[in-house]
């Protein structure tokens, strides 16, 4: 039980990864695939943020009472990495939404089966 309590973020991460992967592969609606992708990426953000946590430490801003002792601060690097990854994720979502608008204008639907049917009709 204590193993579960200490590592619960890992279980949540794995759970979110599974939901996201299911959304991307199992769902037939393109927008739902995109939502799945976002859930998947959020799980990874959570994984990194959890990795930065050190119990009993403080924010990584130089505090005169603590001084230069690096062990007394939270590791800020994963946060910075994830800030970058969030930017990448936003950009990907933006490109994906732009593609979805183009697809919707051409085929009038975001359901994969309908789009495939209309592709066949047009060719």
């Amino acid at each position: 039980m204590s193993a579960l309590a200490g590592n619960y973020t890992y279980y949540i991460t794995a759970f979110l990864l599974a939901i996201g992967l299911y959304g991307m592969i199992g769902k037939k609606n393109l927008l739902k695939k995109l939502i799945g992708m976002n859930i998947f990426q959020t799980a990874i953000f959570l994984f990194f943020i959890h990795g930065a946590v050190k119990p009993g430490t403080t924010v990584p801003v130089l505090d005169s009472r603590i001084g230069m002792d690096a062990a007394a601060y939270i590791n800020p690097l994963p946060h910075v990495l994830i800030l970058t990854a969030i930017v990448v994720s936003v950009a990907t979502t933006g490109v994906a939404l732009a593609l979805l608008i183009t697809i919707y204008r051409r085929y009038g639907s975001l359901e994969e089966t309908t789009i495939l049917e209309r592709m066949k009709q047009s060719s």
Binding site: M37, F40, F48, A98
Partner: protein, 493 residues
């Protein structure tokens, strides 16, 4: 300290930013800036390669921060070689692309060139970076620009591009996840630093998980069978110039990242003996070779046939990496170079045919050999090279792969390589037969001739390059590639 490693991606990035500004003033500026940027990047890469060969590797600390805290860019024999290949192919295809792009997508010239430069910058960045997370950022830069580039195209292109985006994001996310495991195990993101700290952690399950995530991610990006599903649609529906730019180099750069992981980050000994990653890659490569060849035979669309042929050729590269012995890896690296030339040449030919006739069904090519003699001569050379007939370059990389397979004692791989050459002969000779011996109603191709010089010249350069590479292969192998594979010779760990 030499600035060469950072100059290569910076030049490309800068031109990517300049193109929309200049293109806003006048559309033709876009092409000019793209060509100059690609030329400079190639010149820097070539100079980098020569310097690396004479003086050893060049390391550049970004912003003056020394690794492992700072990000470093590294030009060693492997990355300098890859950077030169990528920028050269990029330059040749960009010169070719002007007329083709104006013909196929005239309203989108400026964004297309800006994205193409961004794509090249991302790919070169993957090659020169010595930092695991920086590699992810460049991977996403190249992927994002590729999604947008591929969506410029006919009606089906955005759908194909969206599918690729979903799979590409899975790959990117898996890669970050793998890097996360590595970072939390070793406390470092610098490749050389991680490599030093890993041997103590080889028993760790987190490191094994990291290796598996990273290899799935890069396998997906390089379209290794069965992770190739995104590739055929994307290559078929994108504009000809875009496919010609993406097909020869993008999957190869992911293969490079895989080799980098194998040689630099994880030691070959770990991935070969302690975790069977390399043998999985080799078997998937062999399966991909056969699957791609058989699917290519079944296609009637020329572009789709080339796309499946790419799946098969990537199988060769995967097989060579997976053999994880010096001969196999030399074969894989030589095949990266050769296939970049051959595939670029073939897609340029496909673009030229589309430019002149608007066709891509193989059955409608009858009689083109007389109408477009130079284009078809280049096609013939590249096709013979794909089949593996000496002295064309393709023969030599397959030869090294064969030797690697024999060295490993795996006769199934040897048989696969030989069999797939026969299969390649089937699908290329079918096209050659149509082109040269097929009967056509003469009226159909009345005004068809070789494309204008700006398109014909790059095609012929690549076609001639295939022969030159074939003749020079022993120099390339002994001067460059043997340096790269040296770590495989000495057992470490």
């Amino acid at each position: 300290m030499s600035h060469l490693p950072v100059l290569i991606p910076i030049t490309l990035l800068l031109s990517a930013f300049l193109i929309p500004l200049a293109g806003y003033v006048k559309r033709d500026f876009a092409f000019a800036i793209a060509s100059v940027g690609a030329f400079l990047a190639f010149a820097f890469s070539l100079r980098g390669l020569l310097m690396v060969l004479s003086q050893g590797e060049i390391r550049y600390h970004l912003g003056g921060w020394a690794p492992p805290i700072g990000i470093e860019y590294v030009l060693d024999a492997l990355s300098a070689f890859m950077a030169a290949v990528v920028t050269l192919i990029g330059l040749v295809v960009l010169i070719y692309s002007r007329r083709s792009v104006l013909h196929e997508v005239p309203q989108r010239v400026v964004p297309l060139y800006a994205l193409a430069m961004l794509l090249l910058a991302g790919l070169v960045g993957i090659i020169v970076t010595g930092d695991l997370f920086n590699l992810f950022v460049f991977l996403e830069i190249s992927s994002l620009s590729a999604y947008a580039l591929m969506a410029i195209g006919d009606d089906r292109a955005p759908v194909a591009s969206f599918r690729y985006l979903i799979l590409g994001s899975i790959a990117g996310s898996f890669y970050v996840l793998g890097v996360g495991f590595l970072y939390f195990s070793t406390g470092s993101l610098n490749m050389a630093d991680v490599a030093q700290r890993l041997p103590a952690l080889y028993q760790s399950r987190a490191v094994a998980a990291a290796a598996i995530f990273i290899f799935i991610a890069l396998g997906l990006k390089m379209a290794l069978f069965p992770l190739h599903l995104w590739l055929p649609d994307v290559y078929t529906y994108a504009p000809s110039a875009v496919t010609a730019l993406i097909a020869p180099i993008m999957t190869k750069v992911s293969a490079y990242a895989l080799i980098r992981m194998l040689l630099t980050v994880f030691q070959p000994h770990y991935l070969r003996d302690m975790l069977p990653v390399t043998s999985v890659i080799a078997w998937l490569g062999a399966a991909g070779i056969l699957y791609g060849s058989i699917m290519a035979i079944a296609q009637s669309d020329f572009r789709r046939m080339l796309a499946y042929s790419s799946v098969s050729q990537i199988g060769y590269i995967g097989l060579g990496i997976g053999l994880a012995n010096p001969l196999g890896l030399i074969g894989a690296l030589l095949h990266i170079l050769n296939h970049a030339f051959m595939k670029a040449c073939l897609f340029l030919v496909a673009g030229s045919i589309r430019f002149r006739t608007g066709r891509w069904e193989v059955s409608s090519f009858a009689g083109l050999g007389r109408k477009m003699p130079w284009t078809m001569a280049a096609f013939t050379v590249a096709a013979l090279s794909m089949v593996g007939i000496p002295p064309a370059a393709g023969f030599f990389s397959k030869w090294y792969l064969l030797l690697g397979g024999i060295d490993r004692g795996n006769w199934f791989f040897v048989a696969t390589i030989l069999l797939s050459s026969l299969l390649a002969a089937v699908y290329f000779f079918r096209v050659l037969e149509q082109v040269y011996a097929g009967r056509s109603e003469e009226s159909a191709f009345k005004n068809v001739s070789d494309p204008p010089a700006s398109m014909l010249f790059p095609t012929i350069i690549l076609g001639a390059g295939v022969l030159v590479l074939g003749l020079l292969n022993s120099i390339i192998v002994s001067r460059i590639l043997e340096l790269v594979v040296a770590p495989l010779n000495e057992p470490r760990g």
